[in-house]
Assembly symmetry: C2
Homo-oligomer: 194 residues x 2
DNA sequence: TGTAACGGAATGAACATTCATTCCCCTAAC
DNA sequence: GTTAGGGGAATGAATGTTCATTCCGTTACA
């Protein structure tokens, strides 16, 4: 009826983003043909170009969407004054929640991290997030809650381990239980605590 | 002279492997054109096909070469009877040594891990290595040296963290000092110890 | 009926691979 | 010592294919 049934902004745009995300994760950017994306999304190849200027613009749109969603879930309303131990638990479990809700998103972000086709905005976005994390780490180190050492390394270990956990299970098509996430969280905390 | 002066087995084959490794790391498999590889290797495009049946065969040859070298460096003459703590240190530092000597190799193996174009031999090779590590982890858990939990998760954390450390530094073009590796080793040990 | 969104065949560029040709080096005849 | 010949390695232009993107006839909605 009338104006109501119009749309959730655009059926097709979402379908294209979803299909492309999945294919990019499976086959990579260059390994995925635009008509394949169109097929999976259930639209014509030309339709993709009504919503995105190019294949490159499409991958950048996905990257930005996922990164922002990730930032929102993990950092939104962050308990800035809580003890470091609790902050870490919160952060880790929010990442776990995000990874469960959007299983492909993490792999996508890992895979496309620092690729030639990411535009300047996305590179800057990435940098801003790194800086934010870095600040938090340094503060916690100053308080004596985390081990000393280059923040880069602490962050690399935590994020790397998180991705490692996801991958180790994706490889065998197993889902991670909350208990697994809690175990991993405890392990990583013991790694970084002072 | 006679047979002696023949060659270093083949100049060109090595040049092709090296060039391809570097380009695949930078741009991925599908993002790299065969003539580009030829250019970088300083050979004609056709020459590549004298040494490898196809682009796919080339990437598989690199994968196997790197994986075997990695296995050799990390597992060769492994101190099977040493205490777990020492085994872990040995393993970690050997990985660090490998990553330092072959900076691209790690990134390559990560990137190409479980891609469609890996042949059956390479998939099997990967599986065999995983099983080996898994056995070692289970043994150490039985001895009460490592935390209980799915071996998959322990391995995922260790390998993921290792890659995370490498990447966190590659991103800023910084090299890792021995001190950094030791710090990371200590952190990871605290993560997995019982 | 007019308009905007859509589909998918058409297009031109870029690619992996091939193959006719060149190049290089070794041997042997003189 | 020189040169002619042969054979395998190397080459890169040519080939057929695949791809991102465009274009235009069709559709659906107002």
């Amino acid at each position: 009826m009338a104006t109501a049934t119009h749309q959730p902004k655009s059926d097709k745009r979402e379908a294209i983003l979803d299909a492309a995300l999945e294919l990019f994760v499976e086959r990579g950017f260059y390994g995925t043909a635009v008509p394949e994306i169109a097929d999976k999304a259930g639209v014509g190849a030309g339709t993709i170009y009504r919503y995105f200027d190019s294949k490159e613009a499409l991958v950048n749109a996905i990257y930005r969407q996922q990164k922002m969603m990730f930032a929102q879930v993990t950092l939104g309303d962050f308990p800035a004054t809580a003890p470091t131990r609790e902050q870490f638990r919160t952060f880790w479990m929010r990442m776990a929640q995000f990874a469960t809700a959007h299983p492909k998103a993490f792999v996508f972000m890992e895979l496309h991290h620092h690729q030639r086709y990411l535009d300047a905005d996305n590179v800057a976005l990435e940098q801003r997030m790194l800086d934010m994390f870095s600040t938090v780490v340094v503060q916690a180190q100053t308080k004596g809650d985390l081990k000393q050492g280059p923040p880069r390394i602490l962050m690399g270990i935590v994020m790397g381990a998180f991705v490692g956990v996801i991958r180790s299970c994706a490889e065998v098509d197993q889902t991670l239980e909350t208990a697994d996430w809690k175990l991993a969280e405890q392990m990583l905390w013991e790694a970084i605590r002072a």
